[in-house]
Symmetry: C2
């Protein structure tokens, strides 16, 4: 049975030593003293390890069951959900006005990693609710907020996002679900939605579905899509639950993983819905949810990678197999532990250096969200908007690969379900797909975000890297060689790729889009390179100032050097691919595939 | 439900246009006229598409069940196995003396791909039998061969390999299974083996287990390991089945995939065993099986990739989603098919260029095996021995990645089991693990094969590439630029990596082993680069000589150009990693992971 230990120390290091939260000037961050964040993370870590982790295998094995329209979650989920609610965790970063604790997104993200790492399928019930509540918070009327938010913030009621239909996922303009206006201002929603996570279950007394649909007679395509609140049970004006609405689960999907989450086909049959935001502006409203959800999904990539890594390390230390090539290290035993072998270490260092870099990247992203939301900082908003597809696409592609590497450490024991390593890969696999498949993230990055506001945000990113390199070089040769120079080289590759897109994408946009996946990955590497340079700087400073935790900071420096030497150079390969252009990609007639 | 179509045309192209089988001078190859091989592949393709493919999903869904010591295979498996046996497929490349058809390994490999692609779990029953029969053929006495082979060649009896025990897989010296010598020359085998593919099932009247065990009083460790034939039912001298032997299935493993194959815990309780080969030389005998099995596993990587690719292409052509960025391509429809989008094509071209290159690589390997076995060509034997870990490790790592890419093309539909794309990844995953995990393949390559016979074989490989480049350059600028130059550059990277190992591995072997995985992958890329250069040459010649199939050969050239431009440059990244050495890999104390 796998175990999970919250990386509290690493999170504290990032929040305080690297991002220097309390000094950042972001409203609310002055309260994030190390004692306080440490206590929050400690408590969340206990829930993760003691409550959620033991249910992870159970959720995978039992899955959800549908009988007579009722979905049952796996044994123990309901009790655990009560415990999470009682702890106030779902409302951690929600407004006090609606029962939340008003902490910044950085804390919600940090806690989210722990919950997700210990049980992704379970945590999705809460995660989707958070996303739906955020959309209501951003686009709802005061009456809607008052009606729905208190119960959603507490997770008494959960939420869902309903976008996909059998014939359309990415291209939502093809949507067929209809909304018929009623005289009382409500709508009758009719249609079928698929792949609805947490669509129906037995852990909440009501489920608030956010549903995209087309108002009859509205514009064609994506411009005619609106967003609706469709409660499972109608909510009376006094807040009590009214009649059951015309929405029902059709079936539960058999999936590769996240079995503990009920992925439902939802049928809407003249269900009463209430417009959320403006008519025909459903996509805009949905994107509030999507952007938040995309960061959350990027987080899942990292979370599964870390959980799998922790277990791979345990196994590599315990399992005795072969002898170290440089001489026996465990003379008392029949063999040496796996961890003496260079290729096992290579794999573990890949995992470790990714996970820690990704964690810093994600929390850095969260500070920008806080900065944008709490101080209205438009530059922060623009930068995090640029980085959102990178966080989602890179962290989930790489996160998945890391779970595969962790599984590989176990050899045959990684392939049988008994050890739980297969579940990490099966669960992590979905994150590359949902909330916009990673190809769509790459398209969003290259086709939209790069040029947004005249390319201002990508220029700001390059400036930021340049300034960092300038400000921090020339003080220590080893640091320059290990961190600054590789970061400069990788950033130069990224700029060259952007230049290639500008010069060739005008003539033929395929020259840009054929390189979009590579660009997303090289961007991710540069971000992790920057994070490692920043973490190494923080660790050097800690060591220079006589920290008592020398091992932690020395390990950080070594792990960073590994990333810079072994992972970051991938930017050159991505650039080569991008510069080969679209010709070989687009040359074949469809018939010749 | 996925479909599968045998790539008969591509196989014919490789066998005849690229490898020029009939002109090769390898004994038996003169019979491989195109009509003949075409007919064989056509028939095998029908079995694959019509018989095995429809059972693939059933096998995954039903799995094998164990009840009262009896293992039931999924519905339809038994009847299909009868059909495969009746067709004489299991004995295709086995000696006529034992009922086989005596075709060369290249034909066994080609047919094996089709069977494996359509149903890997099913084909393993036959594949393991083939491996066990090969070991008996190579190491058995005449009496043993006469006793076991006819029924194994026909698959009336199936075979297994028993190596792994709960506490040891890679490090077989730790083995605990004991063999007690009996007065009649037989042994009593006692111990437990795990992960035994096809260990027990209901499709054959007898199962011939090949079991590694230690003869009591023999040398310690791996030097005391011997190989034994342990039949499920003892075989009387007249060939009839005698008493049930002391071997029984303990349980069936719950696995991530290949559910249609029974992966068993096998318990040996004073089971009667017969020494195969020499005392204490069990590993040598087992390696006859292992080497064959490793090529077969590399083939599985390619096979699953191709099957998944074929379905991804279908889906990309059918599924309408979005519009081409360069202008609508399907004006009559509500959207364009996925295949218009550059990033979808990028993914499909990755898959296509890998699959076709890998197929050529594998069949080239098979010609060396035939050359070694049939003409005693020691150079061919040495070269294929060098390339075996590359074929196994590179083709299965990459093959798995390709199934993940194919699954990604389906978006959410790739994650639900209904479409069958999840099964391809789950089935393909095992190939990276069994028959020596890929880390062990990399270790075998760098730690053993590179230096074998004084490095003679790797030098021969470099000479071969060099000669090819020299002989084929200077005739066509485009061909030189697209194929020869990239191949030269990649080969140079590979040589530089070998040089790095020589210069640094002496001082500290970790400098070599920390780069072993990268070396295996760069070696694989160079091999596929060579295959693409050879295939492009063949297609150029076909086009120049006025082939009627212009589209096939033009497609081949485009696909090759894609590989050379987008995949082969990975060698530079692998070289960078290798040259970063072992320092960052080995620096951390185990406690600091």
């Amino acid at each position: 049975m796998p175990r999970y230990t919250a990386p509290t120390k690493d999170l504290q290091f990032i929040i305080h030593d690297v991002l220097k939260a309390t000094e950042s000037g972001i409203p609310g961050y002055d309260e994030l003293e190390a004692d306080f964040t440490g206590a929050v993370l400690e408590e969340a870590g206990k829930i993760a390890s003691d409550v959620l982790q033991p249910l992870n295998t159970i959720g995978d094995t039992e899955g959800c069951t549908l009988e007579n329209g009722v979905v049952r979650t796996p044994t123990g989920f309901k009790a655990a959900f009560e415990q999470v609610k009682e702890g106030g965790w779902p409302g951690l970063d929600m407004p006090e006005q609606y029962g939340g604790q008003n902490m910044p997104a950085i804390m919600g993200t940090a806690v989210g990693e722990l919950f997700s790492a210990s049980n992704q399928a379970f945590t999705m019930y809460q995660g989707l609710t958070h996303g739906a509540a955020s959309a209501i918070l951003a686009h709802g009327t005061d009456a809607q907020k008052d009606k729905y938010l208190p119960n959603m913030v507490s997770c008494e009621w959960t939420g869902t996002m309903n976008l996909t239909e059998p014939h359309c996922g990415t291209d939502l303009g093809l949507m067929r679900t209809k909304a018929a206006p009623q005289e009382d201002g409500s709508y009758k929603i009719t249609g079928q939605k698929i792949f609805i996570s947490s669509g129906e279950h037995d852990m909440a007394e009501n489920i608030i579905h956010l549903v995209l649909a087309k108002i009859e007679g509205g514009p064609e395509g994506i411009k005619g899509v609106s967003l609706f609140i469709v409660p499972k049970f109608n909510v009376n004006d006094d807040g009590s639950l009214g009649a059951r609405n015309g929405v029902a689960v059709g079936s539960i999907e058999e999936k590769m993983g996240i079995h503990g989450n009920s992925t439902c086909v939802m049928n809407y049959d003249e269900a009463t819905g209430y417009l959320l935001g403006d008519e025909h502006k459903g996509m805009r409203a949905m994107f509030t949810m999507m952007n938040e959800a995309r960061l959350g999904v990027g987080m899942q990539g990292l979370a599964q990678a870390d959980a799998a890594y922790q277990n791979a390390v345990d196994y590599a230390k315990d399992r005795l197999q072969g002898r170290a090539v440089t001489g026996t290290e465990n003379p008392e035993g029949p063999a040496d532990p796996l961890i003496v072998h260079p290729d096992i270490r290579r794999s573990l260092m890949d995992q470790k250096s990714f996970t820690e870099g990704a964690r810093a990247f994600l929390l850095w992203g969260a500070t920008m969200i806080d900065d944008a939301h709490r101080s209205g900082n438009k530059d922060a908003d623009g930068l995090v908007s640029l980085l959102t597809p990178v966080i989602k696409g890179f962290l989930t592609d790489q996160g998945y690969d890391m779970t595969v590497k962790a599984q590989q450490v176990y050899g045959g024991h990684g392939y049988i379900e008994e050890w739980g390593m297969s579940q990490y890969t099966r669960d992590a696999r979905i994150a590359m797909i949902y909330e916009g498949a990673n190809g769509v993230q790459a398209l969003d990055l290259v086709g939209r975000k790069l040029a947004q506001d005249g390319g201002k945000h990508v220029m700001a990113f390059f400036d930021l890297v340049k300034t960092f390199c300038k400000d921090n070089s020339g003080q220590d040769e080893a640091y320059d060689a290990d961190f600054i120079e590789p970061l400069k080289a990788a950033s130069k590759d990224l700029q060259a790729a952007g230049m290639y897109f500008m010069q060739n994408g005008m003539k033929n946009p395929n020259h840009a889009l054929a390189g979009s996946n590579d660009f997303m990955h090289m961007f991710g590497h540069v971000c992790l390179g920057l994070m490692w340079a920043r973490m190494a700087k923080a660790s050097r400073e800690a060591l220079a100032s006589g920290t008592s935790d020398v091992a932690f900071h020395e390990t950080k420096l070594t792990t960073g050097r590994y990333y810079m030497a072994r992972q970051l150079p991938a930017t050159a390969l991505h650039l080569t691919r991008i510069q080969s252009g679209a010709d070989t990609v687009m040359a074949l007639d469809a018939a010749n595939f």
